[in-house]
């Protein structure tokens, strides 16, 4: 695809360049980007020619992939193969050096797309849990829904206020309609709390709502981190080695919860070292090595009849 650079870049692509200039490149050489291809409407996430390099080191090398609604994709591979970077590029925690990520038809690499709005629909769970240490469990879960809900409410009210002022000067039949405001900040908070308690009850930690994360075990923290992501009603969940930092004892309870989510039809991308889990839950397994997706397919094929030598080698070591 890189040879196509001769054709003039679209306006949009040029704007995407801003602020993403990779480090260590000579100042006056313009980094040419791969042109955007049309987005496949069937895919929930589409990755086009994703390339990420940290200075000289290329971590992801021209990955193109589609993830459809309801798919559970497990990403496996040796360490340093770019699994985590791939996952972090999906919600722009890492800015790609080249290529594009589409989520529900929105180009996340385009600076005109509000990444914060898009991220609300993509939950992410980290290896190190990353619960907010300064808040109790309930606040951890409700912080984002309440903040975003109240923010939108304020925005609507402000808009209404200006519309009202404008309406004074408009003709009788030209009055602009107001945005309907049905909730209040209090109600949003109450709903978020209720939702959070429901989610906590589901994982059996309702009694821990008022405690701080530092007093919980790793497994409990990770389950709360998952629930925190769920509270935003995401379309897709990204798991970045969710069980790697846990005691072997705790792994089971976290995997159980993820499995439950999978059974409910949540779209998932899971970077994992738990091969048994990948085999059981995933509908598609990707094997990454050296920044490329070397082989992928249904778990039975990947684990049962691997074709690639590197994959055979890897599986022989871990299984």
């Amino acid at each position: 695809m890189k040879e196509d650079n001769a054709q003039p870049l679209s306006e949009e692509v040029l704007k995407t360049d801003a602020g993403q200039a990779p480090a260590k490149k000579p100042k006056f050489v313009k980094t040419e980007k791969t042109p955007v291809e049309p987005f496949d409407p069937e895919a929930l996430i589409e990755v086009q020619h994703l390339t990420k390099s940290f200075g000289e080191l290329t971590v992801l090398n021209d990955i193109s992939e589609k993830i459809r609604q309801g798919e559970k994709v497990a990403v496996i591979g040796p360490s340093g193969s770019g699994k985590s970077t791939f996952l972090r590029c999906l919600n722009m925690l890492e800015d790609p050096t080249d290529g594009y990520v589409f989520f529900e038809g929105n180009n996340l690499c385009d600076l005109h797309v509000d990444i914060n709005v898009q991220r609300r629909r993509m939950g992410m769970v980290f290896q190190q849990f990353n619960l907010f240490n300064n808040m109790n469990v309930l606040k951890n879960i409700t912080l984002a829904p309440v903040h975003i809900g109240v923010g939108e409410l304020r925005k609507a009210k402000r808009k209404n206020f200006f519309t009202k002022i404008g309406n004074v000067f408009r003709g009788k039949d030209k009055k602009k309609p107001l945005v309907p405001v049905e909730t209040s900040a209090k109600q949003i908070k109450a709903e978020a709390n209720e939702n959070a308690m429901r989610l906590l009850a589901r994982i059996g930690l309702a009694d821990k709502a008022k405690v701080y994360p530092s007093t919980l075990s790793g497994g409990q923290r990770q389950r709360i981190a998952i629930v925190r992501a769920l509270a935003m009603n995401p379309k897709v969940m990204l798991f970045d080695e969710p069980t790697s930092a846990l005691d072997p004892e705790m792994v089971g309870e976290v995997l159980e919860l993820i499995k439950e989510l999978a059974d409910e039809g949540m779209t998932m991308v899971i970077v994992t070292h738990e091969m048994g889990f990948a085999r059981e839950v995933a509908t598609r397994v990707m094997f990454m090595d050296g920044g490329k997706i070397v082989e992928q397919g249904p778990p039975s094929e990947i684990f049962g009849a691997p074709k690639n030598d590197r994959l055979k080698d890897f599986l022989a070591k871990v299984l």
Partner: protein
Amino acid sequence: MWESFYRNFITNDGYITVLQGLENTLIIAIVGLVIGIIIGSVVACFQVAGKRNKVARGFAVVGDAYTAVFRGTPIIVQIFLFHFVIFPVLGIRFDGLIECCIVFGLNSGAYVAEIMRGGILSVDVGQLEAGRTLGLSYATTMIKIVIPQAVKNVIPTLGNEFITLTKDTSVAGYASIMDLTFAFRTLTDGGTNVMAPYIVLAICYLIIIAIFTVIVRLIERRLRKSERR
């Protein structure tokens, strides 16, 4: 010597001057610290955000210059400069107390900026990432998640800064502010009976600092509530 001090302090209503001085010292220290924390936090935020945002980088350079100037000159020189040069040249007439609050605030802001920057950097980057992945903006994540934890981490250092600032206010007298030191100087009979007033002055500062230390400890303990002890 104690007789003359007693005479000046009680009979000649010297205690009123001293109380006035104590009040001014406390006002300058506390207001100065508050201004310092506000300025320092803002500067620190720009410096931290400057890594990824070009606008913030511009502000960060301004912040760097500010820090360099106010950390690079003695507080007494700053007081002279502001009191005798900058404010008169600009034609601003402030009450001496407000003037001192501003100067001490600006001065401590430079130190607090570095303290806060260290505090923000000490918070795990995962906290910021977690906030961002939930769809909160960079600013919201900083305000709601990173800075509260940073503040908790820097409370002991900030207490130290507060104590230093309180003691530094003893030079406010040079801008003809009736602070604690200046108040006791008026009780020395024009420099003839210095021993008793200065000993009492030292004890006064000791007591103030001891009280502040306890308060800082209490605040710290309150903020550490979320940690397992």
